[in-house]
């Protein structure tokens, strides 16, 4: 077992954004996390990545209790995450952004540079490598977020709507990239509203609603379940935050 999140709860005052959610992941899995806006998916990621300390429950990663560990300790342990709203370092170049990630396992600049160059090439950002991140549009930024995390050498990657807002062609490239990352042995959890991504990429799906995991299973089976259709697709047409 790579990750075991047990009965995780994240309460803001009396409001439970995540309520008793559990997730067990084996190394090499690629799973989807779906649910309507405000279901608690990003908050659950924040708990898994150490950005928030859950108010209840326990998170064990690779045999170590990470429940209260800092985000940087999570990164060191091998949990990498992207942010729903991109947080690229705007005044640094694309290559420098990726180097910040690469430095985690390559303290010497020359090694980090070499590693980052490989990642930039793999993620298709080579042509823009010398530009500042601020020159990228949202799709480029999302790609850079993936590249930066990948450079930290994670065992588990949490992608929070990293494929949202892409054109159909960009989406196909991004799906191919995620496949490629998965093929190198990285375990992935993907939060995504685009059903095409969930159906084509994931082996298993968890459905969140109002902080609870209300269903889980094979993608096609889960989507058919009525509870899911009511909770998710029923609200699916609501306007989404970027």
């Amino acid at each position: 077992m790579l990750l075991e999140a047990d009965d995780v709860t994240m309460a803001f005052g009396s409001f439970r954004a995540v309520s008793g959610a559990s997730l067990a992941l084996d190394e090499g899995e690629i799973i989807g996390l779906i649910g309507p806006n405000g279901a608690g998916k990003s908050t659950f990621f924040n708990c898994l990545a150490g950005d928030m300390v859950p108010t209840g429950g326990r998170i064990v990663f690779a045999g170590a209790d990470m429940t209260r560990a800092s985000p940087e300790a999570h990164a060191r342990a091998g949990i990498g995450r992207t942010f729903q709203v991109p947080t690229t370092f705007e005044d640094m170049t694309i290559l420098e952004n990726v180097m910040v990630g690469a430095f985690l396992r390559h303290p010497r600049r020359a090694d980090a540079h070499e590693h980052a160059r490989r990642i930039v090439e793999m993620t298709g950002l080579k042509d823009q490598a010398g530009q500042r991140a601020r020159t990228l549009g949202t799709p480029g930024r999302k790609r850079l977020e993936i590249a930066r995390v990948l450079a930290t050498g994670p065992r588990l990657m949490l992608l929070d709507e990293a494929l949202a807002g892409l054109t159909p062609a960009e989406l196909q490239q991004a799906i191919a990239l995620v496949r490629q990352i998965h093929a190198t042995g990285v375990t992935l959890v993907i939060v995504e509203h685009i059903m095409e991504v969930i159906m084509t990429l994931t082996q298993r799906v968890l459905v969140f609603n109002q902080g609870h995991v209300i269903a889980s299973g094979k993608p096609d089976a889960v989507v058919k379940e009525t509870a899911v259709i009511e909770a998710y697709l029923g609200h699916g047409r609501r306007k989404r935050r970027p």
Binding site: E72, T87, D91, M99, G101, F103
Partner: protein
């Protein structure tokens, strides 16, 4: 870039001989001191984006301790400089540890408050001369007292210190530490998610910054042979570092030096033209610069140049 560095180095080396006069040497010494102080501030305030408005606390410690060891034990003032560095490091830890745990402007506010408290306290403490301050050796007992009648030796000593500081800064820029500082400035949350030990990195930056700011203070008091609460710990000392760095470009290698090259002569000029009321004018000058920078070019002259240079280069060909 390499040629630019060379031109700058030659210009600074040759300056006292091109403008061979005490008046210009004095400006040169002041300019170098401002450049050293602002470059030291720049490490934590510029690169890491942790804006200290109280760096006078390190400058003041650096300035007081050399004259204090002279007054207490008749030691050469320079012997107090390492002790001042040690004290500055302790103070940096005391301020950095609690505030760097928090986000936002707690660090900035803490630095202002602590610097002002120290200034007020020093002004009432007889042991360090209270409001009167301290005096260095009136006549040098040997070269080790570093009391030269001409500004020239000071000019070159200061220039060496500035060169060392810029060399260290360049090394920081190229290292993991430097990348981490810029990442922290750009976004702490993202930096942490990539494994950057944010609190520890900020503290390291503050320590390095405090060391050189303290040295700047020591250079100042050894040269002038006199220090009082205002010239050591005054708020203007802190604000000048921020403005000089911001004017040239905070978080860039030569930004603070460029800022000093412009601001120090400008300050001398306004003081000369408008007579003795210097300090009031200084406030107005600083206020004006803050307004202009905040409104038009927060990145300072460096950023302005980055935007204009490509256009200037293109124009002649197009014409």
């Amino acid at each position: 870039m390499k040629t630019g560095t060379l031109v700058l180095a030659v210009a600074l080396l040759a300056y006292p001989f091109v403008l061979y006069d005490h008046f210009y040497w004095d400006i040169g010494v002041g300019l170098l001191l401002a450049a050293i102080s602002a470059s030291a501030w720049n490490i934590v305030g510029g690169y890491a984006g942790q804006v200290s408005v109280g760096h006078a606390m390190f400058f003041g410690i650096g300035a007081y301790v050399p004259l204090l060891v002279f007054n207490l034990w008749q030691l050469p003032p320079i012997a107090g400089a390492p002790l001042a560095v040690a004290l500055s490091l302790v103070l940096a830890v005391v301020i950095g540890l609690p505030t760097f745990r928090l986000r936002g402007h707690y660090f900035s506010m803490a630095t202002i408050a602590v610097a002002e408290l120290i200034r007020i306290f020093i002004g009432t403490w007889d042991f360090v001369g209270a409001a009167i301050g301290l005096q260095g050796p009136a006549v040098g007992r040997g070269w080790w007292d570093l009391t030269f009648r001409s500004e020239l030796p000071y000019y070159y000593i200061f220039l060496v210190v500035l060169a060392v500081l810029l060399y260290v800064t360049r090394a920081v820029e190229k290292s993991r530490f430097g990348y981490y500082l810029r990442a922290i400035k750009a976004g702490e949350r993202a930096a942490r998610s990539l494994g950057v030990p944010v609190q520890q990195t900020k503290l390291k930056a503050l320590l390095l910054s405090a060391v050189f700011t303290s040295i700047a203070g020591s250079l100042y008091s050894i040269k002038t042979g006199f220090i009082d609460p205002e010239s050591g710990f005054g708020i203007l000392i802190s604000v000048q570092m921020v403005i000089v760095a911001a004017l040239g470009g905070a978080g860039t290698l030569y930004g603070p030096l460029v800022g000093a090259l412009i601001l120090v002569p400008a300050q001398t000029a306004t003081n000369t033209w408008f007579g003795g009321g210097g300090s009031g004018l200084t406030y107005i000058l600083y206020g004006g610069i803050i307004l202009v920078l905040a409104r038009f070019e927060p990145g300072g002259l460096h950023e302005l140049w980055q935007r204009l240079a490509p256009r200037l280069r293109r124009t002649p060909r197009a014409a």
